[in-house]
């Protein structure tokens, strides 16, 4: 893996290095985070450390290479289930971050290489953020720039008056990274060891993903329509073998198609309304039937609406409502036909980018709850500290209760540098 990253990094940055009259800049960050798990975990302490190094090579204001390498160490995957898991191990990962070249003309941009493409207007539930896979081990309070995993894309955008047309193509789909299955089954299969066989990311040109987005702004409204055909970022499972003491599952990621609409509108000058509606076809959903674990393709509709409040005495807030519905009736599915959540978020701005965020998430159908608090406190121009806590609880069959072992308090420090 390290060899692949180094080779790709050198290949992508070679043209920049080879040519003269290029302006180089170097920057990055180092971050460390210590966590104390407050749930019923096998281990109570965890760590996450990260580093990122970026070289930007500027041939002109319109032609730029960006080469980025990321490193992460995590013990989150180690063991936050109630019982020891077979996949328990610390992870060191070195992978390519943003690695692309960008060419800009007056009316279009072409950006090719490993990059992020973020769609959608709403926050809290990023149903429209479908292009990049995510590191879902990061839970809710992670920077999107850290949980989004860059993928190789040919990204073309054409601009017209107050709008744009974007076309994207990927020859190398990638899958999201999830928490160990034991997290979700610890309350049910306490004496059973669960092993799951991951599906490897497809090789270059083995699979293809493509789609586009049409955006326009008018009458104080931002609107975009998008379509993307891709491999499901999340796995469906097939049961391979099962005994009283062990279960073996194999992952699969099938092709799905998403069509969506995003809107954002300023209301009464100081409120902002946002919504994303995404219709996904052929998503595989697991059901636990008398014959075993099966998966069935269904169509789903996901919708999120939110309202940002104005700032009053340095306080600001947002209300979010999200719903995910399986359009067909699926008996014995491992998730409910309809899942609804609400989020109430309050922020206090101390000034100089010192911010306290507090949010409460309520899961309507099964009575799950989550509370998260985060204090971000820049110490100086290059150093931030973060202090936070997240707690998940509720009825045992709720989705948020399943995350109870992720409940933690944490302290983090992040240092930015520029060479």
């Amino acid at each position: 893996m390290i060899k692949k990253v180094l080779t790709t990094f050198i290949c992508l940055s070679a043209p920049a290095i080879a040519l003269a009259k290029v302006e180089y800049s170097y920057r990055g960050f180092l971050s460390a985070k210590g966590l104390y798990y407050t749930g019923d975990t096998h281990e109570s302490q965890g760590q996450r450390h990260r580093a990122q190094f970026e070289q930007e090579s500027r041939f002109s204001s319109d032609f730029i290479f960006v080469n980025q390498v990321r490193w992460s160490y995590s013990s989150l995957f180690t063991d936050i289930s109630s019982t020891p898991s077979t996949d328990a191990k610390d992870t060191h990962e070195i992978f390519l971050g943003d690695n692309f070249f960008k060419y800009k003309s007056s009316s279009w941009v072409l950006q090719t290489g490993y990059q992020d493409v973020a769609w959608g207007e709403a926050f809290g539930f990023n149903y429209a953020d479908i292009v990049n896979p995510k590191d879902s081990r990061e839970t809710f309070y992670s920077d999107l720039s850290e949980s989004r995993l860059p993928m190789f894309l040919v990204n073309f955008k054409y601009f017209f008056s107050d709008g744009s047309l974007q076309l994207i193509y990927s020859p190398e789909p990638k899958f999201s990274k999830g928490l160990p299955v034991n997290i979700y089954t610890s309350g049910v299969l306490t004496q059973t060891t669960i092993t799951y066989i991951k599906e490897e990311d497809p090789k270059f040109f083995d699979e293809h993903e493509y789609g586009g987005k049409l955006s326009a702004s008018f009458w104080g409204l931002d609107a975009s329509l998008f379509y993307y055909t891709y491999l499901d970022r999340d796995p469906a499972y097939t049961l391979i073998s099962a005994t009283m003491s062990s279960v073996t599952l194999v992952e699969s990621h099938d092709r799905i198609k998403s069509t969506g609409l995003s809107l954002a509108k300023t209301l009464f000058d100081n409120f902002v309304f946002r919504t994303d509606i995404v219709y996904t076809q052929d998503k595989e959903i697991n059901s636990l039937t008398a014959t075993g674990l099966i998966s069935t393709p269904v169509n789903m509709t996901n919708m999120v609406v939110s309202l940002d409040s104005p700032t009053f005495n340095n306080f600001s807030g947002a209300l979010v409502y999200a719903n995910s519905t399986i359009n067909e009736d699926l008996t014995d599915a491992i998730r409910e036909k309809s899942q609804s959540y609400s989020i109430a978020k309050l922020s206090y701005d101390f000034g100089a980018e010192k911010i306290f965020d507090l949010s409460y998430t309520h899961e309507w159908s099964k009575g799950g709850h989550a509370v998260q608090g985060l204090l971000t406190w820049p110490i100086n121009d290059s150093l931030d500290i973060r202090l936070g806590a997240e707690n998940y609880w509720g009825k045992e069959d709720s989705q948020l209760y399943k995350l109870k072992n992720v409940s933690n308090v944490f302290f983090g420090i992040k240092n930015y540098f520029q060479l």
């Binding site: 920077d143 107050d162 702004s217």
Partner: protein, 239 residues
């Protein structure tokens, strides 16, 4: 007796002023040209230093009063943060979110230094002026002007503005919210020749209630510049 005499001088000055054909909006327009390149397409840099010596650097692309783009280049944590103001719309882009985010109109006022202080420096285009009087400070006479917001897209509801009678050099301003609440005071200084005219390159902003909150804005690298229309397209912010 002293009070009566000062009142008489002010009254005579005001009477004299009313008798003359002084256009307050022209005074503001001339004063604007002493603080920037006016309502013409240009770019400039702004360096802000606060009372804790923390520094922020912005690059501003100003097309006209209806379109401006501000990009933060320092500190490193905020590098690449962009704010696009276009008519009544404002979008924010950050490296973390990686998409343009529509934000409310009030966001132009957020922070000890408002986004409007950086990118909307043409008062003549945004406010209607009236002359409240003339005040003598030292050996110079200054118009005391009241600037009222023409519409909601401007940064402040009202500004009290002191401009030199002799050469339209701005001296100080007090900014008020739409509610009428005083927010902050600004003093203009460090006049330097830029594009053939002596213009202010320094603005010191002091919070009206918390006097220890002081931000110093240094304006530099003013250049007339023509921009591609697409740089003011919110979908281009991510590039």
């Amino acid at each position: 007796m002293k009070i009566l005499s000062a009142f008489s001088v002010s009254f005579l000055m005001a009477a004299n002023l009313l008798a003359s054909d002084v256009d307050p909006n022209e005074i503001v327009k001339k004063a604007d040209l002493r603080r920037g390149l006016g309502n013409t397409p240009h770019s400039f840099n702004v360096t802000i230093t606060n009372q804790e010596n923390k520094k922020e650097v912005y690059k501003v692309s100003f097309k006209d009063v209806n379109a401006s783009l501000t990009e933060q280049t320092e500190p490193e944590r905020a590098r690449g943060r962009k704010l696009l103001m276009k008519d009544y719309d404002i979008w924010l882009y950050t490296q973390n979110i990686k998409k343009p985010l529509r934000i409310s109109l009030e966001q132009k006022l957020t922070g000890e230094v408002a986004n409007g202080d950086i990118a909307r420096t043409n008062y003549a285009e945004d406010y209607d002026a009236t002359i409240l009087g003339v005040e003598k400070r030292g050996n110079n006479e200054f118009y005391k002007l009241e600037l009222k917001a023409k519409n909601k897209k401007v940064t402040y509801g009202r500004i009290e503005y002191f401009v030199s009678k002799k050469d339209s050099i701005p001296m100080e301003a007090t900014f008020f919210a739409l509610s009428g609440k005083p927010l902050k005071r600004a003093a203009f200084s460090d006049f330097k020749p830029i594009q053939g005219l002596s213009r202010s390159t320094k603005m010191v902003i002091t919070d009206y209630l918390q006097k220890d909150k002081v931000n110093t804005l240094i304006f530099s690298d003013h250049k007339p510049q023509k921009f591609d229309e697409s740089i003011f397209n919110k979908d281009r912010l991510e590039f």
